[in-house]
């Protein structure tokens, strides 16, 4: 892991994004276990470096599209933790006024075009965001996050081919955490690297270490340059690891059934993206130990304020069902 070609402010920025996601998700996990959150919750713990590295290489104008496991993407793009938390509680003050929930957070002001609960549902829309950039001669790029599982949906294949034939500024970021729910990726495809699929569509396919936020940043920066230069789409496959359950509450749901290899999981967890960054920043004296601590404390404080605010926020009014239907 090295940061030689990355400005120091960006290095710190990437670290801050990772830390924000981690502290947010840890709190969400606690809240879910306490029975305070409705619906399904899919945490991003272990995968933070992917969203942080990718989004640090984007401008505010660039857009992203996310998945059911979307909290990290929103935070990495600069989303407001308070409005996110309120949405998870289903409150009127949430990003989507309680109508979306964990799997459907969006912030169009910052180019976060929405999280999507349908696996593979985001890829075609990302192509469309790339299409509009091309159409309007904008140098905006469109990024789509999706999982290894999503790479087996027809939408993946159609979207790569469409973006490629129209040479659109789209970056497909496949978060290969090696599982789709309880099925290992190796049992759902007979290849190791999803990036290999790109060649079939005439698209460059790149494999990056999803635990290394700097590598994710560099891979994205290269893809962004290509896209802005009219070179068309790129597929970046981030090898990553989901630390916990597919969805929270999984252990009770599975009733003792297991599906992950313990040794493999332990090895992957040893490569914790937050720990790697923290070590890198301290060992290279990028931030003094004291600042590392206060930064963490500030973020933790921000998250607990968000929880407090969400708890104290009103439930949506029933009449709000009829708002936001038509323009």
């Amino acid at each position: 892991m090295h940061h030689q070609d990355i400005p120091l402010d960006v290095v710190v920025d990437i670290y801050t994004r990772v830390l924000r996601i981690r502290r947010f998700e840890e709190e969400v996990g606690r809240l879910f276990r306490q029975g305070q959150l409705p619906g399904f919750v899919h945490l991003y713990i272990g995968e933070e470096a992917v969203a942080a590295g990718v989004c640090a290489a984007l401008t505010d104008q660039d857009t992203i599209i996310s998945t059911h496991r979307g909290h990290g993407h929103v935070i990495a793009k600069g989303g407001d933790i308070k409005r996110m938390m309120a949405e998870l509680f289903g409150k009127a003050t949430g990003y989507c006024k309680g109508k979306g929930g964990s799997m459907h957070i969006a912030d169009f002001e910052i180019g976060m075009l929405g999280a999507i609960g349908i696996v593979g549902g985001g890829l075609p829309i990302a192509v469309g965001a790339g299409l509009s950039a091309w159409y309007t001669d904008s140098d905006r790029v469109s990024v789509c996050f999706f999982g290894d599982g999503a790479a087996n949906e027809g939408s993946f294949h159609e979207s790569l081919n469409l973006a490629s034939t129209l040479m659109l500024p789209v970056i497909f970021v496949c978060e290969n955490n090696h599982y789709g729910e309880f099925t290992p990726a190796v049992k759902a495809m007979n290849i190791i690297d999803i990036a290999d699929r790109a060649i079939g569509y005439g698209v460059p396919g790149v494999v990056a270490d999803g635990a290394d936020a700097f590598e994710m940043y560099r891979a994205t920066r290269a893809a962004v340059e290509r896209a802005r230069g009219g070179g068309g789409p790129t597929l970046i496959e981030a090898k990553t690891h989901r630390r916990g359950s597919h969805a929270e509450g999984e252990e009770a749901f599975l009733g003792g059934q297991t599906y992950r290899d313990e040794a493999e999981t332990a090895a992957a967890q040893a490569k914790d993206p937050l720990l790697l960054l923290h070590t890198h920043l301290s060992e290279n004296n990028i931030l003094p130990a004291e600042r590392l601590e206060t930064l963490d404390a500030e973020i933790t404080q921000l998250v607990s304020e968000a929880v407090e605010a969400a708890r104290n926020s009103p439930e949506p009014e029933i009449e709000s069902l009829y708002e936001d239907l038509w323009v």
Partner: protein, 322 residues
Amino acid sequence: MPRKTYVAAIQEALSEEMRRDPRVFLIGEDVRIGVFPSTRGLHAEFGDKRVIDTPISELAVAGAGIGAAVTGLRPIVDLMFGTFLYLAFDQIANQAGAMRFMYGGQTKAPLVFMVQNGAGSSAGHHHSQAVQQFFMNMPQIKVLMPSTPYDGKGLLKSAIRDDNPVLFLHSLSLGGKRGEVPADEYTIPIGFADMKRAGSDVTVCAAGPTVYTALEASKTLAAEGVEAEVIDLRSLSPWDKETVLESVARTGRFVAVDESFPTCSAASEWAATVAEEAFHQLKAPVQRVTNRNVPMPFSPVLEKAVLPSAADVIAAVRRTLA
């Protein structure tokens, strides 16, 4: 009679039919582990060939089911959530839903599509829509939506034995519901309603989770001296028009309760049929109770407000009495 959960009843139907007929197999995402717990344990008994985990590829999996069916097998295709049927729509609507007719009777597609349908888990629009009405609209697909463990088991067995494509909708919110399930072998024929409660003042027709909504409403109404006849359709396509019309002939009032978006809902079909065929027996206009006409919201407060409630049913019944 032993009391079992809905989930356990479905599990029995699947395993009994797989034991009975080696052509029956189960295919879908995570069916071994069982995202819907009814498929749990089947892999241990039947092995890799008959309990097949697939990639996340609904269109291909649905189509593979059809291809296997027209070449002699009897697949049960588990597509997890009702909303994921949208990804397989082409294969179901254009292919399974027409091929026997389109090819002049040369083939048949004996397969079951199985999903959990509808709301109740606060999972937002992508996981909470009820989808029965889309498939009722297809002339060559049977649609089942049983509300009890007994009906679930009996109808699923009939679906598996049926020589046509059948969509079996079970509800996430009913999975833990218990009811009597006979130990002895039985099936329930497709296309017959079940009279849940006799009454002389108004006919209330429902299916799946709304059966309980209707029954709850009938208790309050009874306390007010209004006797509602509650009919559980169980089978939405084909549906038991005769039982409904016979009831309306006695009560003269009709309320259709259905969890789906109102336009072209199942309730619309029932109400239109009653208006068309029992017009002269009606003492009041037919009434529909459905979801509110908005996408499914995440917030539990809003989700509850969108779904048909006992209060909505009571209000509709009162309108027929006014």
